[in-house]
Subunit: 437 residues, 2 copies
């Protein structure tokens, strides 16, 4: 520990996602010692992660080093570490065998994909939460086309050219649309033997419609747009089994070598660290002021929390909720520190929801106002570029999008970081050699 | 095998580097069936790889999918595969258990870093030849700063803030300059405990001067520029040992956690596949027409070959040599096919050599003409952006450079693809957990 010259209250923020960064931003210049802990050295703009997975953007386009963001704030320190527990008795966060004491704690650790009892599906149907997930999926998907090109067995070739996306939420819809466009436009003329436009993309949703958070009329619009891109949408059917060769939906089997999981997320284990009640998805139940019951100095925000305000309706796991909660908690701490505590509970202001389908279609909803089509897509672009953290990222992303839009190309189609073993179908005899490592 | 409708002569090109791509480009539209085999799906613009390793550019900025480059050429096929041998009796290339028959073969498989009897140094002093090498080094280097920030032991902190580059050729000079600038400019204000400007960068060269291929006066200029950036240059001293804690130069030991190898390359094993004589660096000795003695239909070009034309002076292992050799072989094949064989041997046209030192200094040499300083750096930028394959890459790279130049920032400072084991010093007790994976 460093010697403490001034005895300012110590705020520890765990997680530099939208929630944690917003709290830190609001605390800039306030009379607190702020420590921001994350297990990555960058903030990830998660809503565009599917663009990295489908070769539209580079990882650095949607990530900004946390230290750069925080640099100018003299009251803030960044720590690259993985939090494993919290000691409530001593008020310390335990990260990589170190103990970081706090007076106030903000947990904003997000969520990760979850298989709800089917963890054995993960190797066959990976999820999409980190940059490494995205580059791995990109390699897997691009390798499927490469392997199909040199495959002589027609059944195996079909399996390689079938892509299954499980889950009809925003991630699933965006992924299915982007894969279909990649195959039908960007890759269309790149192969000599296979025809990438014959690629089959299947989107599976267990519920009765896609994008359940939107109005049913918009769900239908989204489905029609996807089908126009060539995506097969299967509604009301849950996946009952998943293996290296495909998925099973009750009595139907879809043979596919590339499967993506977008059907469920689970909050990070903050509830376990605190030993407090959590809901079925692992979200800590917090009070109307976002504090943990019994621990008025510990707040949980974003995807890790669910507000138990009696309304019964949980807030969606989206960036605006996390950001507003981060700002709220920071303002609350500042006000209390001034001796003017805030009594008003957290209230979410909905500025609308957006989801995109392929290269020129999106849907948008704000209360009763609904919009779909190209204008909604333009709004989606503007909103996402505007909210991307860091000026550099904004121009590079805008440029990449313009480029992709005008040319149908995908500039980041790199297969990197792949071991020989992953390049081969599970049944073939793998061999390792130095060149391929 | 596909049924062959026309019996055009089959040209197989192994390697889509500068040499292989140039040959393919020249053969576009010619009456040959061309197959281009590479173990990656992209062409790598290797001269800028050090920029990826030092967080200046993204991998996709310096790589272009081979299929996109070749797309419009109806006589050319791309194959993603690793060549392991050549069957001279049947005239077939063996790649991933497949056999690809050829009438003419062009081997352009490049070189990889080599330790010349010290392969055990590789884990401690990795080289820089592939995108995965570059992103791994980037993570290693950035993690050293992160670990130094949380390190309490002063000796270990110094070890973490010492970077050793072995080899005073262009790669070593570029790396040393870029690391020094990253530490002294981009990272200067990002940490609270350590002072990145106190980073020590040591460049070790066994020979009497840096950049031996240039005029001695330019070598001196380069050395002075590096020293102005804060790099310590040690000349005339060879590394005698290398381990996890540093390097030994005779009786001196330099403690360092991050070491980079730029001291030697070895040609890819084409000589072994062909069972023909190679020089000490594994380069196949080819005739003045770049054909392998005794095999007039097999050519070896670029870093994999050395021309045995009696002059005794080997050509440098640089992109222009590989490109000119690729064009030459392709033109030779086309001329022979027309019944007008070319008798003139390959002659290298030197358009000058360039090397860059940091953010605004370069040296340039063309015959007796010498240039150094900012103007040479501008020329270097123009040349590199001009030769980058693909229009998109050019504008993105130009933008990134402008951004880095104006702001001293490094936009791609991402630590990705790192396992827990690599994040910890070798002597600490590692533990794995899911969050860190």
């Amino acid at each position: 520990m460093q010697p403490r010259i001034e005895q300012k209250p110590r705020v520890v923020i765990v997680g530099a996602g939208f929630g944690g960064l917003s709290a830190a931003q609001e605390l800039a210049g306030a009379p607190f010692d702020v420590t921001l802990i994350d297990r990555h050295n960058y903030h990830l703009f998660q809503p565009l992660l599917y663009q990295v997975a489908t070769a539209g953007l580079s990882p650095a386009d949607i990530a900004a080093p946390i230290r750069s963001i925080v640099r100018g704030r003299s009251n803030q320190t960044v720590m690259l570490a993985t939090v494993t527990d919290i000691d409530l008795k001593t008020s310390e966060v335990i990260a990589d065998d170190r103990r970081i004491p706090f007076d106030h704690l903000i947990l904003a650790t997000g969520a990760q994909h979850a298989y709800f009892g089917h963890d054995d599906w993960e190797p066959f149907a990976p999820g999409l939460k980190t940059i490494d997930d995205a580059t791995r999926f990109r390699a897997r998907m691009l390798l499927a086309f490469e392997r199909a090109e040199s495959e002589t067995d027609a059944d195996e070739r079909k399996r390689l050219l079938t892509f299954v996306v499980i889950g009809g939420g925003p991630t699933g819809v965006e992924m299915a649309g982007a894969i279909a466009e990649l195959a039908r436009r960007a890759l269309a003329k790149d192969f000599r033997i296979i025809d990438p436009t014959s690629t089959q993309v299947v989107l599976i949703e267990a519920g009765p419609r896609l994008l359940a958070a939107f109005d049913p009329s918009l769900s239908e619009q989204a489905q029609r747009s996807l089908e126009r891109l060539g995506v097969e949408v299967r509604l009301g059917r849950a996946v009952t089994s998943c293996d290296a060769d495909g998925v099973v939906l009750g009595d139907e089997r879809i043979e596919a070598r590339t499967i993506m999981w977008g059907a469920g997320v689970m909050a990070s284990p903050a509830g376990r660290w605190l030993n407090v009640p959590a809901d079925r998805a692992g979200r800590v139940m917090v009070g109307a002021d976002l504090a943990v019951p019994g621990h008025p100095n510990i707040f949980v925000i974003g995807d890790t929390a669910t507000v138990n305000d009696g309304s019964g309706r949980p807030l969606p796991g989206v960036a605006p909720v996390a950001k507003q909660q981060g700002y709220y908690v920071a303002r609350k701490l500042i006000a209390e520190n001034r001796g003017q505590p805030i009594a008003t509970p957290f209230a979410y202001r909905d500025f609308g929801s957006l989801a995109t389908i392929g290269r020129k279609h999106a849907i948008m909803q704000l209360g009763r106002f609904k919009l779909s089509g190209f204008v909604a897509w333009l709004l989606w672009c503007v909103a996402h570029i505007y909210f991307l953290i860091g000026f550099r990222n904004r121009i590079i992303v805008a440029l990449n999008w313009m480029w992709n839009y005008v040319t149908f190309q995908r500039g980041t189609r790199l297969i990197t970081g792949v071991r020989e073993a992953q390049m081969r179908p599970p049944h073939s005899s793998g061999h390792s050699n130095r060149n391929a490592a």
